[in-house]
């Protein structure tokens, strides 16, 4: 039983990290239908910035804040310089451009900070607590809390503020929103800023959990996050969140019991392919007008229903 609980908690912690990364990707896809692979580059950049600033100033809070702010700006810059000019092109064009940027970011990190990676001089959030027979590190609790706070904040923002409503409107019906006076550009900037900030937070937390940031730390999240957003319904926020947690759990148990048959990374994709073969639209999508499987089962209402089931047109 203890092993089971341990695996479950590990799965949730990893799932929280995946969720932070995947949400940003889902946001970009939902708005622009672009597979934003360079997102993983921002994740790595965030991890490095957080570590460097913390090591230099001694304050982890400052490191985290600076990292999120700078990476958010980088995300917006990326949109302006790279994606905006090629929005009208077929989808493989932004895909390859994104891959090029991801490679460039990885190499820049390697050239500036060295091949070997960096560690915290004084690991933040050190220590652990005994909970129900398991030892859970403070850093792990912090990850889960941070994910809840950030994602909850996003949900509140999306449903309770005017800007949030403008964002939702742009995701659903861009032309209608524009004719209602919403500035599409501002919404997109906001979208990239928030998504990139979340990726930076994830990068910093992964750096703390491993006490290591490496130039290639974005490689695995880059394609795993893609699998997650597909599972979640491609652009659906709530679905992505649930898919991320599910994947964390599946990997935790799968790595233990399936390791003789399948690589750990392949588990994500095997799961994704199984889901796609059974239900091509993903787990949580609902077509216009009809409600999805889960939405019906859970009898969701109002904003919650929108958050969990809406798939962009």
């Amino acid at each position: 039983m203890s092993l089971f609980l341990n695996l479950a908690s590990q799965g949730l912690i990893n799932g929280a990290v995946y969720a932070l990364i995947a949400i940003g990707l889902a946001m970009v896809f939902g708005l622009l239908r672009i597979l934003h692979i360079a997102h993983a580059g921002l994740f790595a950049l965030g991890g490095y910035l957080g570590l460097v600033v913390t090591n230099a100033t001694g304050s982890f809070a400052l490191g985290l804040a600076v990292s999120m702010a700078v990476v958010a700006a980088c995300g917006v810059l990326m949109y302006r310089l790279c994606y905006e000019p090629i929005l009208e092109q077929p989808p493989y064009v932004p895909l390859i451009a994104s891959v090029g940027m991801f490679l460039a970011i990885e190499e820049l990190l390697r050239l500036v900070f060295g091949d070997h990676g960096l560690s915290y001089h004084v690991p933040p959030l050190a220590g652990a607590i005994d909970l129900g027979g398991m030892r859970i590190k403070y850093a792990e609790i912090a990850v889960v809390v941070m994910a809840c706070v950030l994602l909850g904040g996003l949900a509140l923002f999306a449903t309770r503020t005017r800007i949030g409503m403008a964002w939702r409107a742009t995701v659903s019906e861009p032309r209608m929103a524009a004719s209602c006076g919403v500035s599409l550009r501002q919404v997109r900037h906001l979208n990239f800023a928030i998504g990139s900030a979340f990726a930076a937070a994830a990068g910093v937390m992964v750096g703390v959990l491993n006490n290591l940031v490496e130039p290639s730390m974005g490689a695995v999240p880059s394609y795993k996050a893609l699998a997650i957003i597909v599972l979640g319904g491609l652009g659906n926020m709530g679905g992505t969140l649930v898919a991320a947690l599910l994947l964390g759990l599946v990997e935790a148990f799968g790595a233990t019991y399936l390791s003789n048959y399948l690589d750990r990374d392949s588990i994500a994709f095997a799961a994704m392919l199984c889901v796609l073969l059974v239900r091509p639209e993903g787990l949580f999508s609902g077509t216009k007008g009809s409600t999805g499987l889960l939405a019906r089962k859970l009898q969701l209402k109002g904003a919650a229903k929108w958050v969990l089931t809406k798939r962009p047109s």
């Binding site: 790279c82 000019p85 451009a97 090029g100 940027m101 460039a104 990885e106 597909v230 690589d263 994709f269």
Partner: protein
């Protein structure tokens, strides 16, 4: 030609075949595939195993082609169920699954790969044989493009619904594109196995799939000469960039981005446009 030049030439020819094969699937038929390296790998591993079991080149080459083509059919069937956006990711997943299976299977070499693959038997002629195969692949793709098969592919690529309403059996043609493209990739895999003498998982991963797609996109989706040109350029680029060795990958990444930003249609259509413009001026 020295040994260095012929080994580079062989590598270029193999990459040209790979680019042409993906061009059939993604360029002509519009099915963006992010897992193409897996079929390259199927051909390579099949050749490795068969060659070590005693089969010679004339047996392993068709075997690689057939096996990779069959795998392509399977993936193609799965792709029929999913939409556009998902196809890229589904093919990526197929690529990872292939690697995952190979990594955990000791019979396929696992992490260590398969090495000491016997020679092709062609000795010094082998590089030229590979070039011949590349030329044959180019001729084949040109023939497909100009035939009714190519016409159907392009119709599916342009607008699937319209194609179907014209009576074109889109699923069948998509499958055909997959089978042909992956079969050709299998041939490239076979040639690769003999060239290197070893096969290992690192040569068939997601970055390689992306690289092949980049070759097709940079050359110009659907353009035969474009794929050839881009494949040659991208293979030779690391050699030319030796003097900035440390910054090679950075420059490469920036190059991809710059190409997509400024020449998204691909290099070859650009060259054609310039040529036409020059000819237009000359006529005046």
């Amino acid at each position: 030609m020295g040994a260095y030049e012929t080994s580079i030439l062989t590598l270029v020819a193999i990459n040209v075949i790979l680019a042409l094969s993906l061009n059939l699937i993604s360029g002509l038929c519009g099915q963006v595939s992010l897992g193409h390296a897996a079929f390259f790998g199927v051909g390579a591993y099949a050749t490795a195993l068969l060659a070590k079991a005693g089969a010679n080149l004339w047996l392993t080459l068709p075997a690689a082609l057939l096996l990779a083509g069959v795998c392509g059919l399977v993936v193609g069937f799965c792709s029929l169920r999913v939409r556009d956006d998902f196809l890229a990711i589904a093919t990526m997943a197929a690529g990872f699954l292939f690697l995952g299976v190979v990594r955990t299977s000791d019979a396929l070499g696992g992490e260590l790969g398969i090495s000491q693959i016997p020679e092709s038997g062609l000795e010094g002629f082998y590089p030229y044989f590979v070039v011949l195969c590349a030329v044959a692949a180019g001729v084949f793709c040109t023939w497909v493009k100009k035939s009714w098969l190519g016409y159907a592919f392009e119709a599916v690529s342009a607008d699937e619904t319209a194609a179907r309403s014209l009576g074109i059996d889109t699923p069948r043609f998509k499958l055909a594109a997959f089978a042909l493209g992956t079969g050709l990739a299998g041939v490239a895999g076979c040639l690769y196995a003999y060239y290197l003498g070893t096969v290992g998982v690192e040569a068939f991963g997601f970055p390689v799939s992306v690289m092949i797609l980049a070759m097709v996109v940079i050359g110009g989706m659907g353009s035969i000469w474009g794929s050839v040109l881009a494949a040659a350029l991208l293979t030779l680029a690391p050699e030319w960039f030796r003097f900035i060795n440390d910054y090679k990958l950075l420059v490469f990444g920036l190059l991809l981005f710059v190409m997509m930003r400024f020449v998204p249609g691909g290099l070859f259509p650009l060259v054609l446009r310039q040529a036409r413009r020059l000819r237009g001026e000359a006529a005046r």
